[in-house]
C-alpha cells in the first residue's frame, strides 16, 4: 500500500507543513535520525524554492517500492511541482553557490546530494517538476 501526503505551498507556512509531513512519513517508514534530517531538509529546500521562485505549487510525498533480488526495497519520493517561470539552465542551477535571490545557492545541489535519486523537468514559462527519492537502508 502506498501512503501519500500532499501539501500546497503558497506561503511560508506551506514550507513548515511540508517538512512536518515529510518528517512524520520518514519516521513511520523507519528512517534513522540522520536520514530523517536529510529527507526533511530536502523537502524544506524544494518547498522554499516553490515559494520564492514560483509563488505557489505543491509538494507530494509518497512511499515507493523497488523489487530487488535481495527483496523489496522501500523508500520515500518527493515531487515538487509548480507552474512558475521554469528554469532556463539546469546545469547552472545545479552549481554550488548559484543563486538569483541572494541565497546560499546550496538548495538544489544540496538536495541532489541528500537524496539517492534526483531529477529536474522544467520548461521555461510553464513550470518545474523536481522528483527525488530516498531509499530506506
Amino acid at each position: 500500500m502506498s501512503v501519500q501526503s500532499n501539501v500546497e505551498v503558497h506561503s511560508e507556512w506551506g514550507i513548515v507543513s511540508a517538512r512536518q509531513a515529510g518528517r512524520n512519513l520518514a519516521k513511520e517508514l523507519g528512517f534513522g535520525g540522520v536520514d530523517q534530517a536529510r529527507f526533511t531538509t530536502a523537502i524544506s529546500e524544494l518547498a522554499r524554492n516553490i515559494y520564492l521562485y514560483a509563488e505557489q505549487g505543491e509538494i507530494i510525498i509518497e512511499t515507493v517500492e523497488n523489487s530487488r533480488i535481495t527483496g523489496v526495497q522501500r523508500g520515500l519520493k518527493i515531487t515538487a511541482r509548480d507552474r512558475g517561470p521554469g528554469i532556463k539552465s539546469i546545469r547552472e542551477v545545479m552549481e554550488d553557490g548559484y543563486t538569483t535571490s541572494g541565497g546560499l545557492g546550496a538548495g538544489l545541489p544540496g538536495v541532489k546530494r541528500l537524496m539517492d535519486e534526483f531529477d529536474i523537468d522544467s520548461v521555461t514559462g510553464e513550470g518545474t517538476e523536481i522528483t527525488a527519492i530516498k531509499w530506506l537502508r
Partner: protein, 118 residues
C-alpha cells in the same frame, strides 16, 4: 513566535526549543542584536539541541547573526548541534565559517570565557 533570550552577567543565553520557521528566525536575529546593544553583552551562546533540521535559509540566518554579533563586539558560540543536522549541513556543502561550536551550554560558556580571556 519569539525565542526567549536570557541574560547571565555579561552573556546572553538562548535555547532554541522550536523548529525554526523563517519568520521566527528573522525575528530572533533582530531581537538578539537589539539585546546585545541594550545589555552591552560580550558573549552569546545559542543552544540548538532541540533543533531537528537546519536548511540553507536557516543556516544563512544563523551565519549572518554570528557575523553581525561579532561586528557589534559580541562573540557567539553555537552548541548542541544534532548529528543529523551536522551531517546534513556538510552534505549540502554549507560551512558555518569560523563559527565556534561546543557540545552543550556549559561547554559553550567555558569556550566563551576562554576566548574572551585570550
Amino acid at each position: 513566535m519569539r525565542i526567549p533570550i536570557l541574560k547571565l552577567k555579561n552573556y546572553l543565553l538562548i535555547s532554541v526549543q522550536v523548529d525554526l520557521d523563517d519568520q521566527t528566525a528573522l525575528q530572533f536575529q533582530e531581537d538578539l542584536l537589539n539585546k546585545i546593544h541594550q545589555e552591552g553583552s560580550f558573549g552569546v551562546v545559542i543552544d540548538l539541541t532541540s533543533v531537528e533540521m537546519i536548511d540553507s535559509f536557516i543556516a544563512k540566518v544563523l551565519g549572518d547573526v554570528v557575523e553581525m554579533s561579532n561586528l557589534m563586539g559580541a562573540k557567539v558560540v553555537l552548541t548542541g548541534i544534532q548529528p543529523g543536522v551536522a551531517i546534513t549541513l556538510i552534505d549540502m556543502g554549507i560551512v558555518l565559517d569560523e563559527v565556534p561550536t561546543a557540545l552543550d551550554l556549559e561547554q559553550g560558556l567555558d569556550k566563551l570565557q576562554q576566548e574572551l580571556e585570550a
